[in-house]
């Protein structure tokens, strides 16, 4: 690095210290811990080096494999739905109509609500004795009522509904930003040429918001892997481990049971999955994002 009178590194040092201590070191340490057998709160029992044994156990652990499947299902289902709903909302918000400001404010409410609050809220709505969900389905016939959070099939769907409610608006915001830079003249010119609304959408809107759509997809995928609050509050991974997503299973192993060696193996697997996803997406978007930055 060429020496300059400006102490560049001094500006970057504080952030770099935090990055090293709280991000880079912990990831490396997770790798290391995954090779040991260790109880979190009993450090005096020492660490026992076990090599790849944790990973071998992980590969044959039905709960772990199940939680991997659950996580992937969760990501695969919620992300497209959220982006599609977000697109629909963004298209509506992009039109000018009376009350648009109100709608935009209202749409932000799910985003503003803390995830933990939203989890309790949906837990209440899905209550098996007097929840709103059951009433809307069955009315007064309480003997028909379901217990969505206690049924293996329904529990995961309930959590997905809660997640979709909370984060579709975030997708909507990102896509709306992309919609708003499309010049109106393009639509007008197409209208003069006799294009229908659908044609305008397919040939003008869709190609031009592709970066925004990809961005929304990227962030939603990454965030879907991180789901934890909803599972912790609504189902604690149950019933019968059907909502046991990877991040929750890792938490349970490391902190609830103290098996931090095994938990770290889970952590490493989760890390590698998200690393792969982020590399794929950053490749797709990286040059685009930075080109946008340089233009300003």
């Amino acid at each position: 690095m060429r020496s300059s009178p400006d102490p560049v590194w001094r500006f970057l040092l504080p952030s770099f210290v935090f990055v090293c201590v709280f991000s880079l070191y912990p990831i490396a340490e997770s790798f290391r811990l995954s090779l040991y057998r260790m109880i979190l709160t009993l450090p005096w029992l020492g660490q026992k080096f076990v090599g790849w044994e944790n990973y071998r156990d992980l590969a044959t652990d039905p709960v772990a494999l199940g939680s991997l499947a659950t996580s992937l299902i969760f990501v695969a289902v919620t992300t497209p739905i959220e982006v599609l709903l977000g697109l629909a909302m963004a298209l509506v918000l992009n039109e000018s109509f009376r009350g648009r400001g109100w709608l935009r404010a209202v749409v932000l409410v799910p985003w503003a609500v803390p995830t933990v609050v939203s989890s309790q809220m949906w837990r209440f709505i899905f209550n098996d004795r007097y929840g709103l969900f059951n009433y809307l389905l069955f009315g007064d016939a309480t003997h028909w009522y379901w217990a969505p959070l206690a049924e293996p099939g329904l529990a995961l769907m309930s959590i997905m509904v809660a997640d979709i409610w909370k984060t579709s608006s975030f997708a909507a915001l990102i896509i709306l930003a992309g919609l708003q830079v499309i010049p109106r003249e393009l639509y007008e010119a197409a209208g003069v040429d006799g294009a229908t609304a659908w044609q305008k959408f397919r040939h003008i809107t869709l190609p031009l918001i592709k970066p925004a759509l990809l961005l929304a997809l990227l962030f939603r995928t990454i965030d879907a892997l991180k789901v934890f609050d909803l599972v912790f509050v609504m189902t604690q991974g149950g019933p019968a481990d059907t909502t046991n997503v990877l991040q929750f299973y890792g938490y349970k192993k490391s902190f609830a049971e103290g098996m931090i060696g095994y938990g770290s193996a889970i952590a490493v697997v989760v890390f590698l999955i998200s690393l792969l996803l982020s590399i794929v997406y950053i490749r797709l978007l990286g040059t685009g994002l930075l080109a946008k930055e340089r233009r300003t």
Binding site: D6, V8, V106, A112
Partner: protein
């Protein structure tokens, strides 16, 4: 016909976004019998018992206090550090500047579990568990990536001429930052601060594992761990949730333009 469909979708979007939350807020004003009523009673009799109970019996104010302290401290320190870094990245032509930004972006993408164990062990070794500085340190590192990204975007868009003039007049970079850039970038700093604050207020995972003494726990932990063995005290939970959320909703509505700008300009996670 198209107008009706459009109006319908506007109403549908508004209702779906608002009704679940409104339902919960209304629940906070209901008595226990009203809550479990079938068919559901929409308008409560507005009893304040739930709020009183949440504050007296469940220590709601203590949780709010802890959250306020932690979120404020995180915001102040995080924005300061991020502003320094963002300034350097935006103004200095660094070969590895792009790499550092990408690294930050990548780091923000990893699920918390990837670093949770070692962070816990580290804080434990330092004796920083169940302390304000422990949780704030963790939160600062969590918020730095997107704070730096948002601020770097804002700094890049600032015109360079005033700064250049100051530098020619003999200012150091540090003075240029303090006297020229920061005042100009105040809106951007404010936006980033709001986003960091909201994120720190809502954070749950690390609060759960780091803060285990009720005296130190933040609001999300308090609400998630609301005690209830056979019947959940939904009225109190709703009351606590309403108090926890209304400041955020107010913040979001007042500053929605900034928030939307910050989220889409920096393209960061919510």
């Amino acid at each position: 016909m198209k107008k009706i469909a459009f109006a319908g979708s506007v109403v549908a979007i508004g209702a779906l976004s608002l009704v679940p939350f409104l339902w919960f807020v209304l629940t906070s004003g209901k008595s226990a019998t009203e809550i479990s009523a079938i068919p559901p009673i929409i308008l409560p009799s507005f009893v304040w018992d739930n709020y009183r109970s949440a504050i007296d019996q469940y220590g709601l104010l203590r949780y709010i206090g802890n959250s306020a302290i932690v979120a404020s401290a995180t915001t102040l320190i995080s924005i300061a550090i991020a502003a320094l870094a963002a300034f350097a990245l935006a103004r200095f032509k660094l070969r590895w500047g792009r790499f550092y930004l990408m690294l930050l972006l990548a780091l923000s993408m990893f699920p918390q579990i990837a670093i949770a164990g070692p962070v816990w062990l580290l804080l434990s070794a330092l004796g920083w568990l169940n302390s304000y500085h422990g949780i704030v340190a963790a939160y600062i590192s969590l918020s730095l990536p997107f704070a730096v990204w948002v601020l770097a975007t804002f700094f890049r868009e600032l015109p360079y001429d005033i700064e250049e003039a100051a530098l020619i007049d003999g200012c150091t970079r540090w003075q240029a930052l303090r006297l020229v850039v920061l005042p100009l970038a105040a809106p951007g700093l404010f936006t980033a601060a709001i986003l960091v604050f909201i994120h720190a207020w809502n954070e749950f995972f690390f609060a759960l594992i780091i803060l285990t003494y009720p005296a130190r726990q933040t609001l999300p932990v308090g609400i998630a761990l609301f005690p209830g063995e056979y019947t959940m005290p939904w009225g109190e939970i709703a009351a606590a949730s309403t108090i926890a959320t209304l400041p955020l909703v107010a913040l979001t509505l007042i500053f929605q333009r900034r928030i939307v700008q910050g989220l889409s300009a920096g393209a960061v996670k919510g």
